[in-house]
Amino acid sequence: MSTAPASLDAGVHEARLRELDEVWGTKPGLRGQLTAVNHTTVGLRFIVTGFAFMLVGGLLSMFIRLQLAWFDSEVLDPQRYAEFVTMHGTTMMFLFAVPIMEGFAIYLIPKMLGARDLPFPRLSAFGYWCYLFGGLFLYSSFLFDAVPDAGWFMYVPLSDATWSPGLNADFWLIGVTFAEVAAVVAAVEMIVAILITRAPGMDLRRIPLFAWAMLVTAFMIAFGFPPLILASILLEIQRAFDFAFFEVARGGDPLLWQHLFWLFGHPEVYIIFLPAAGVVSMIIPTFARRPIVGYSWIVLAQVAVGFLSFGLWVHHMFAVGIPLLALALFSAASMAVAIPMGIQVFAWIATLWSGRPWLRVPMLYLVGFFFVFVLGGLTGVMLAMMPFNWQVHDTHFVVAHLHYVLIGGLMFPLFAGLYYWLPLASGRTPSETLSRTAFWLVFIGFNLAFLPMHLTGMLGMPRRVYTYSEEMGVHWLNLLSTAAGFVLAIGIVAILVDVALSFRHGPRTARNPWNGGTLEWAIPFPVPLYNFASVPVVGDRDPLWQRPEIADASARADGMLGEVRDGQREILCTGLLSGEPEQVVRISNSTWLPLLAALSLAALLTCFIAKAYAVAAVMLVPLLGLLGAWAWTSGHRHAPTHLDVTADLRLPTQYAARNAPGWWALVVSLLIDGSLFASLVFSYFYLWLGADAWPPAGIATGSWGPQLLALGVLGVAAGAVQFAMRAVRRDARATAITAWLLAAVAGLAFVAVHGWALWVPVGPPQAHAYASVVWTLAGFHAVHVLVAVLFATFLAARVHRGYASAARPLDARVAAGLWRYTVGQGLVAWAVVHLFPRFA
């Protein structure tokens, strides 16, 4: 606890700190744990759960290696082998690699930015529960002997209802999509947090590089995850309701799955790698004991990688028979991405070169990272060359490459980060001997396990197959891989034991044991759940190196937001570019809502996989009820429109501020939703491109009358929303309520009229891929209209109860923004569904 500042009486100061502890603290006992929403707790949960899933995924890989240790092993039968390979890949990608980095970000980002918490604590808690339940849902397939077995990429037709008639594929599609909710909400959280909750003075060029990396990553998730979410939804609809997106006999195309999957799958590699690169950029300056060289270069390299990595997806499909020029375009982009990657590596080397490197355990892992990742990158460039790719496609060469990239690019920086930030969470350092031994076990074990796979692959050993022939002569190499794989496993267990032991037995350390320069090291141990008693003000990229006194100043309660008001958690938001203070944001205290909402969603999905569709539909009621309660408690009738930050600084609250976090969350959510919609439109045109006739014989385009009527009704809804918004701004309550309700009624009418306008000419969606995709487009939009209808009704109630008004327009702005987007999406969907087939 810090000493009282001169400006405050010691008693007052103590009282302020106590009050901060009370308001930000988690309630004792299980109830407190289940309702906790603060970022420190949620972040640690993500990290612990991520490592638990890593151990399970690792265990599966041990069985895989045992099976491949010799050519005639019978450890796993072919079916079990397929299941274990599928679950190993799925677990490591979806339940370990992505969530663990989210965990690091959720735990660290507010601390690095000088913020007390993330802007939407309930959302991150909800994301965590979705991740946990999604993972458990996936693993519950073991209980029903329906373990997913079609590979982590789930290619159709192998994964469709004909070739995977059991529930195996359903467990994958629903479980993974459920867990992905966490990634998507974390993206919203991160973008808003990094853009507007930075400490005052932290303008764009002072953002810690890990935060820059997370910002780019979050945008990549926003564009990269929706294609897979869409693909999973389409395949699940096809499996559950016999739609025809991927079925050739009814005009579908299995390649559509591959496009959507890799549109996600390749950026995914960089979604995993960029945060790890951000970790590297944070650790290197500390251990080189100098500021990073080429900060701007690293930032622009991260942005460039973020873009270029989207131009690579077809390089996973070089062997499927796409025209050469198209393949070459992706080959070229695959090589172009090496440029910004190289820029980052050179900046790191330059920093080490010009500094005074200090080889502590985190640095040791970074040395391992350089070695392993560069090798993985080189084989990546080899694979980007089509002729070479065709030779080693689907062999163990690719297995070696992807493990070099992922273990080199993610695991080594991750362990470096784990050791680097451990003292922040534990207040202790781990055992130097054990951690160095563990490093060498991991490093040697990994290389001996995966280096031989380059050879076995080039000799023709196929991947995803449970055995290989003796004549291939690769059994000794495989035996070596297996033995070394166990060394790697022992190393990883040693790391986790080391970390666990350090919490109890490690030598205690002072604050900032490595002398890091960024704000997370200003926080005392044990970390108070409010992070900073006063919001720090920064004037440099490495604030603690420039002004070490910032640590003590931010632990005293006499600065910005040092005083608790109304028992509310308050954070400070700043300008997107400038980092100037802009608004005070009141965020949620502990609540049951995230857990209950995730539980309802889990119940709904369980009913769905059990094919109890009616019950699943009924489960929407508690889910919507909880989300409604969530939205309703986001504001207050008597919420202040302005608050004092210090004696001479008064700022608007989020209810009145223009750049409110809620508004930004809407913008980012719509970006994600827009990407989902764009993927669906892409699917429509992709199916059209492969079709002989569009619409096919037996399906008509229909008459203009009902279609134009539907459009007109949507126009009425749009007009009503504009009118309602104006009425809210004028405080004309009765008019506003009427207009919101009119928008809701018009929205419902649109859904009915449009359904009728489609049913007559198109008929049932099962008839042909055309009907499937048209109904899905219309249905997708109808869901949006129904959500917008709920929002309009909600707003009518909000205006009625005095929550939304001219002084507090945030709710209304969000609802109107959602409506405008929905109408715009409707126009595009309408044009695609009704205009395009007439002129195609």
């Binding site: 942005v303 973020g306 020029l325």
Partner: protein, 124 residues
């Protein structure tokens, strides 16, 4: 939307040009092969190759324009360092520098994409 070199949207604009170019080239190529457009030739090459090259030239011009603007803004900001509003000038030098170099990367990446168009037939 304003796309000045000192805004986030302006800084990433050249990469957006690259992305648009990439998507359009890939889509036009797919459409051309599906509809047999490559059979129409002009000056010894498939007409669609010319279209793709024209598109590339336009994209290069777009990315380069962002680059030139970023470069000018960077020089302007650099000249301002040391004057009264030095902090602001440093900030502008940072954003303009990023915009300028990203434009350069975008130009190189667009050229990378264009090389196969020059070397290969559209639909083999």
């Amino acid at each position: 939307m304003r796309l000045g070199p000192h805004r986030l949207s302006g800084m990433v604009a050249p990469m957006v040009v690259w992305a648009l170019h990439f998507v359009v080239v890939y889509s036009v190529q797919g459409l051309a092969c599906a509809h047999g457009w490559q059979r129409t030739t002009f000056a010894g090459h498939a007409a669609v190759t010319w279209w793709l090259l024209l598109l590339t030239a336009a994209s290069l011009a777009g990315a380069a324009a962002f680059g030139v603007r970023g470069w000018r803004a960077w020089r302007e900001a650099r000249a301002g360092i040391g004057s009264g509003a030095s902090a602001d000038a440093r900030f502008r030098r940072f954003t303009a520098g990023i915009a300028a170099v990203l434009s350069l990367i975008a130009v190189v990446a667009i050229c990378f994409t264009a090389i196969p168009i020059l070397l290969l037939q559209t639909c083999t």
